[in-house]
Symmetry: C2
Subunit: 338 residues, 2 copies
């Protein structure tokens, strides 16, 4: 049921019945390795290229989530997947190995949220029974595509984030047990004229703010309605920008706020503002957030993946960085209505 | 209602209430310029780069379709859009200028079909009321991204196709009048080990064949049930490959078959196998196919956009070309059930 301008509140609350998160070696030394289902010893996974390695890692996440749901790939009606590589290399090649109807997405680091929203809308209405939603990123593939070859050993700026090597997948189902998807607020593309490609947090923070304002208006709740609000990968500086944006809009964000990018690495790992990449919030959601929902640490979470919709060419053409954010509300063992 | 393995037959038949197609100068000298809503005199549209020009053209198509539907952009619940550029540059920057919830897609030249299928599934169930679905491609942007800078004046091979400069958009609605979307069959990624990047038709033909076989099996109809079957952009050689694939599978394809890529240019334009690009079938559908449905020339059409899911890097890494095809059945003034 559509509520307000762009929020869908689900009458039948799709359930997340399967989940899997894979992380790379650096993520295995980060803040939350014990939550990951699998930590890779070798970020090449025995493949010849980083791109094929990313695709292999993504397929591990998809197969892992389907197994975790006690399903076979043939039981999945539709796979949504996205990544950061040109022409979504990782997703297309992962889908090639899976016998499943496929819809490729591009929403940069918001791709997992976009997929989760679309899957929930289709499952809630009964159009499809089971969807798999996945996303990935790979540090070495992203670095050479967006910035410089690793061999150059280039310096990084203090506002930069570190693209995580990780993949996550959720299986969303009309029946079964698991955390329930309560609502989804679809994002719009916003552009606040931020043009520093080494400061993605600043570019994406207004998108997160704008989507949260829409979500609050559409649903009539306050931020403290949620036990925790997780933005996608704004990083530490982006978190401050987001808080500032919200306070400037008259909404106070309390201690119930965290960011997937800011929390995935430990400070001494020198990632500066934290992690980023489509695999960042996809993996944190599937390992950490869903686990804490299951353990009862949280009852209600608002999950807000953010994406910087620049092309690697657009900044060279003088364009600022457009951004988007989708918000998905998830509950477990907390029976309330919004 | 899901029918068979991956076909959705729509109880409420979403209507296409608005449409718009923009073509470039070469398309204006092609086979069907009189069907286009707008032919550009300048394929740069006064912009500084081909990528921004493509995005501007795409926005023209989206705004044109919304106006054609007698709607305001605020009436659109969700915009689906995709293109061939790295990180879907054209779509993201078009959406930036539009105040509309946005879901970016990447399905290469099948993107428009993927969007049309997802939009129809969401509209049929009543989850959303109105969706805009768009896709674009631009010869000069694609050429320098996938192949060589135009200035090189490189030779083309006989099996190559010419990326069309065009964009198309449909507005899909739960109410109103217009051609009705009857069903959608979602594609899987197939790979028949074709590795010649100058022969996309051969790479995509098996995907079209595999999806048509699934569609026929799921719905129980024969190919001659349709007044016309349009594949996306297999080109002339790809059409032959598709016929061969189908006949090898025991299904004869008659004269009721055409390909958007094969028909958009005249032979003397020396495009070899014809047109390609995400804007090819998106524009042909929105100008030619929908118009002939409206005129009563066709009653039932099966529209099958095909996409080659290679990355520009994947062939360099020794990978063959995976492909996908979605099939959407459209009717107008022909009241039958499948």
């Amino acid at each position: 049921m559509k509520k307000g301008k762009r929020t869908y509140v689900f009458d039948n609350r799709p359930k997340i019945i399967g989940r899997y998160a894979v992380g790379g070696p650096k993520e295995g030394e980060g803040s939350i390795p014990e939550y990951f289902d699998e930590i890779l010893e070798d970020d090449l996974l025995g493949q010849k290229t980083f791109e094929i390695a990313e695709s292999t890692m993504l397929r591990k996440a998809i197969n892992g989530a389907i197994q975790n749901a006690k399903l076979d790939v043939k039981d999945v009606d539709l796979l949504f997947s996205g990544d950061l590589l040109n022409q979504t290399f990782a997703s297309n090649f992962a889908a090639r190995e899976l016998d499943v109807p496929y819809a490729g997405l591009y929403g940069a680091c918001s791709s997992f949220g976009e997929g989760l929203a679309l899957a929930s809308m289709l499952v809630d209405s009964g159009t499809i029974g089971k969807a798999a939603v996945a996303a990935s990123s790979h540090f070495s593939a992203a670095e050479r595509q967006y910035r410089f070859p690793l061999e150059l050993g280039n310096q990084r700026t203090p506002t930069s984030q570190w693209t995580v090597t990780a993949a996550g997948c959720s299986v969303v189902s009309s029946d079964g047990n698991g955390p329930e998807i309560v609502s989804a607020t679809i994002g719009k593309v916003v552009d606040y004229d931020v043009s520093d490609v080494n400061n993605m947090g600043a570019a994406m923070a207004p998108a997160a703010g704008e989507t949260l304002l829409a979500h609050l208006e559409d649903t009539g709740v306050e931020p403290d309605y949620y036990d925790m609000i997780f933005t996608g990968d704004l990083g530490r500086h982006g978190m401050e920008m987001f808080r500032y944006f919200m306070e400037s809009s008259g909404v106070k964000i309390g201690d119930n706020y965290c960011d997937c990018g800011a929390m995935i690495f430990r400070p001494e790992q020198r990632t500066f503002q934290g992690g980023s990449g489509a695999g960042c919030c996809a993996s944190v959601f599937n390992c950490y957030i869903l686990e804490l929902l299951k353990r009862g640490r949280y009852g209600r979470v608002l999950f807000m993946p953010t994406g910087a919709l620049l092309s690697k060419d657009s900044p060279l053409q003088g364009e600022p960085i457009p951004a988007i954010c989708h918000a998905i509300s998830v509950e477990y063992n907390k029976k309330t209505e919004i």
